[in-house]
Symmetry: C2
Subunit: 325 residues, 2 copies
């Protein structure tokens, strides 16, 4: 009979038990020349360059254990870093992950987290090739993604020129709609609302569109992590241009079922989520006007001379997320 | 007159102010093809592979702001990751750093931290090429190092064979001696004691000895982060061998002034610090017996058939650091 304490925790396993348990669950892909277990991993960088991006995710700030399962936290943490690499036009090859874990964290939560990382990496053929485990009162994830540019020039934020078009691949507003539903504490009992909450818990970045955009000749690109207006502001500043968005072009995003259903439920303006909500990790790119874009890219505006990002006919309010405000 | 509040904090600057302030202080070396400011950095990987290692450092667990200045925290955080890459036989090229910062952190502390990272990278010609900033109640550092193997095979933990010799480059016991002095709260008023405390605050890894060992034909190598006995245990297990250490060979380490002075002050056994103290980030390597070792490598034992790490004539007690015990 187990009465007092049935849950196996991270503290029960100890540091090396945790490391062994995690690494046993991580398949290693072709790009990994040396995986977990030594001082460093060795990853293939076939064109002699490696794209690298890192993010820190803190429990209570980037995720809540009462709102998201370990599996979803793992998928989201992997996704946001893999998307950063894809936004350079690179193919993600590997992650390395530093884990801060409370000693009383159930091992089942850690197993879920690991599975989430492995599955999201599997979507793009990448692997978790190494990491570090330490004790912390909160769950903290330090995630670094590596990627291979395949001989292509990296797509920067600074190449947008007047006359180019602005396009988006992936979702906008889902994560913000789901977050608003969770914060409001409303009953999530329809497919549309459930999809919005799922969108908050687990983004779905259009990874392949990154290399695709680079091959199509994109002049600028980034992933939408803090909100489209704010993130396009980085492109406008880096490129020294004005970006004019067409509100009518966002109908495809505002009428997507999860966003529309959540807006109706909360009496909110879905365009606000679409323009200012972060964490969907869509890709926003700028292309010369003559480029013929595939269906995965939705044109939402154009580049003009000047500065700043404007939405025609609309006052812009909140512009996204500052981690210290 | 400034009465209530004279200290500029991270919260005053905001996320983008912090990022701009940090990046303005970071010189970029030759290996950096694209530095901070985009979704990812791009680092040269001239031989088509990249060595990559990551660590998470948590305030209160890996450093204390009342014991170490921001500058020393930056140097130490950089050093321990650069040493991991060096321990593969690679030349460190770049770091990316995720920073979790309290809003009330003085900007002066952040400036010091940044300078520490930049200076430690400068020792090996590497650069902080990118990062991420987010708010956190504690200072959290997620540090990832990249390195170039220069066409050499990575030196793993698994290549030690009976008859090989075990050697150490760098310091042992300094960080443990300094930590013991700080914890005891004794007056640190002699050059030897001050040097021990400095050794705790700032390791001095023998970076160049990593590539040197690879070129000399080292069969196994790692950096000493958790204590020599514990870390050599990884080599013994991975290689399927027994490692026999000669206590007399450690005299050069136990009589080093900082270690000897601290041991005398506290009535402690210096060999315990030398064998079990972590955080000096020495390199421990195994070489075929016929290799002629330069002076930077001190032979401390040999490899035999069997398992485990033993110190001839000595019972082994505490074996190093487990982050969950």
């Amino acid at each position: 009979m187990c009465v007092r304490r049935c849950v196996i925790t991270v503290g029960d396993l100890g540091e090396f038990g945790v490391v062994n348990r995690i690494t046993a669950q991580l398949p290693q892909g072709d790009a990994v020349m040396l995986g977990p277990g030594d001082d460093a991993a060795v990853i293939g960088a076939p064109d002699g360059r490696v794209a690298v991006s890192t993010d820190l995710l803190i429990e209570g700030r980037h995720f809540r254990r009462d709102w998201s399962r370990g599996y979803d936290v793992g998928r989201k943490a992997a996704a946001q870093n893999l998307a950063d690499v894809a936004a350079m036009g690179a193919r993600p090859t590997a992650l390395v992950v530093g884990l801060g874990l409370p000693a009383d964290l159930p091992v089942s939560w850690l197993d879920e987290l690991t599975a989430g990382f492995a599955d999201e990496c599997g979507v793009v053929g990448a692997s978790v090739a190494g990491g570090d485990v330490t004790r912390c009162d909160l769950v903290v994830l330090g995630v670094t993604a590596l990627g291979d540019l395949g001989g292509r020039a990296p797509v920067l934020r600074s190449g947008a020129r007047p006359g180019h078009v602005v396009a988006v691949a992936g979702r906008l507003g889902h994560a913000a709609a789901g977050w608003a539903l969770l914060e409001a504490g409303v009953s999530v009992d329809t497919p549309g609302l459930r999809a919005a909450v799922a969108g908050h818990r687990r983004p779905c970045p259009p990874y392949a569109s990154g290399a695709e955009a680079a091959e199509l000749g994109a002049s600028a690109m980034l992933d939408v992590s803090d909100g489209l207006l704010q993130d396009l502001g980085h492109v406008a500043r880096a490129s020294g241009v004005r970006i004019e968005l067409d509100p009518a072009a966002f109908t495809v995003f505002t009428t997507a079922e999860p966003v529309a259903a959540a807006a109706k439920e909360l009496g909110a303006d879905p365009l606000e989520w679409v323009l200012s909500g972060g964490e969907d990790h869509a890709l926003a790119a700028v292309f010369p006007a003559e480029v013929s874009l595939p269906e995965s890219w939705q044109v939402v505006g154009r580049v003009a001379e000047g500065s700043d990002v404007v939405v025609r006919g609309r006052e812009i309010g909140h512009r996204g997320w500052d981690h210290f405000r």
